[in-house]
Amino acid sequence: MISVNELRRNFGPIVAVNGVSFNVEKGEVLGLLGPNGAGKSTLMKMLACFQKPDSGTATICGYDIIEDPVEVRKSIGYLAENVPLYNEMTVGDFLNFVCDAREIKGKNRKQALDRIVPMCSVESVYHQTIETLSKGYKRRVGLAQTLIHDPDVLILDEPTDGLDPNQKHEVRELINNMSKDKCIIVSTHILEEVDAVCSRTIIIAKGEILVDSTPEKLKEEHQCGLDEIFRKITSTKAA
C-alpha cells in the first residue's frame, strides 16, 4: 500500500533523508527507529505530502505523493510529532472542522464522531477548549483527528511521546486493534514500543536505512535485547 522509492531530502548541507526505499503492505505495522535527527520525521512529512522531496517519490494507495497530494492526504491519517492543534477551539468544534475538511457529512459525520470519541476517550473533554487540556488529552484529540475518516494508511510520528504509562498502553492497544486491516507506520525511539506493536522494523540513521527486519529476527540474529541491537547498529554508523 505504501511504496517508497529513493526518497531524498536535504536541508542546505545537511542530508536528512538519503535515498530511502521500502514497501509496506496491508496488515503490517512498521516501526521506524532511529536516533534523534535520523530523518524519521522528515520522511514521514514527505509521505504526508507536507514536505516535498528533492528527488525520488512514493505512492500511497496507488496515488503519487508529488502528482496527487490531495488524494494521498484523503487516504491517510497523519499524526504530526508535536500534535499541532487549534488551541482556541473546543474538541467538538475541532473534530467537526476536520469532518468539514474531509467532507464527512450528515449521517456519516454522526457515525464517525460516535465511533471516534469513545475510541480515543475524549468524551469527558468534548466541550472543553483544547488549550486547557493536558498533554495526554491533546494527543488523544490528535489521534481522533487522524482516525476520524477511518483511513487505510496511518502515519504516526511518535504517537506515545510524553504520555504516562497507562496512556501509552492505551495507544498501543489502539494500534494493535487496528493493525489487521490497515497499513501503519509508527516512528519512535522507545524500543519497548517496537516489541509491543510492530510487526516489522526499519532502523535509520543519518537518512539511510541500516536494517529492515522483524523485531524477532533481529533478536535472534544478535542474541540480545533490542536496546543493545539499536545501540550497536546506530553507533557503528555514527562512527
Binding site: 512529512k45 504526508a48 505530502c49 507536507f50 514536505q51 497530494p69 490531495v70 488524494e71 492526504r73 484523503k74 497523519y78 504530526a80 508535536n82 499541532p84 492543534l85 487549534y86 488551541n87 482556541e88 477551539m89 468544534d93 472542522f97 476536520v98 468539514d100 475538511a101 474531509r102 467532507e103 483527528q145
Partner: protein
Amino acid sequence: MHSFCAVFKRELKSYFTTPVAYVFLVVFLFFSGYLTFKQGFFEIRQADMQAFFMNMPLLFVFMVPATSMRLWSEERRIGSIELLLTLPITVTQAVLGKFFAAWIFLVMALALTFPMIITVSFLGDPDVGLIITGYLGSVLMAGGFLAVGCFFSAVSKNQVISFVLSVVACAILVYAGLPSTLNYLSTFLPAGLVSAIGDMSLQSHFASIQKGVLEFKDLSYFVLLIIGWIAGCSFILDERKAS
C-alpha cells in the same frame, strides 16, 4: 470547494472565539467616528459621508494589518500549518479561505458603521449612490490591504514583523499617490514615471470610486492588487510551509 468552506468557517469563527474581533471592532468603530467628527463633519454643513470615507485609508493602513498579521504567522509558529496542509486541502484553498474570512470580517466592521448613515440621513438628504460607492471603495481597499497583509504574514513567523512590514507596504500604496508626494517626486523624476507612480498608488483609485465614479480601471486595479498579492502569498507559503 468544501475544503475552502471548512477553512473559511473555522477562520471566521476563530475571530469571535478570541478577543481579536472585539478589540478590533471597538478600536475601529471608535476611531472611524472620532476622526470624522474631529475633522469638521458639522462645520462642512453637508449631509454626506465624505469626511467619514476620507479617513478610511489612514485607518485601514493600521487596522487591516492588525487583522491579517496572525493569519499565517501564528499558524506557522504553533505548527498547526502542518495539520492544516496534511488535510486534503491545497495551499490555494487554504489561502483563499483565510483571506475571504478576514475580508468578510472587515466587511462586518464596515457594516457596523451604519449609525453614520443614520446620522447623515437624519441631518439632511444625502446622495445614496455616493454612500454606496464610498462603502464599495472601502471594501475593495480593505481587500487590497488584506491581500498585502496576507502575503507578509506568510513571510515571517513573527507577528510583529508581519505587522510592521504590512503597515509599511500599505502606507507606501496610499502615500505614494498623495498630491504632496507626487509634487515632490516630479521635481526630479520624469513626468511619465510620476504619473505611473500615481496610477499604481491606491489613493487615486479609491478617491475616484468614493466620488461615485465606477470605472473599469479602478475596479480592475483592486482586483489585480488582490489577485497578485494572494498569488504571491500562496507561492511563498508553498515554498516555506515546512521551514
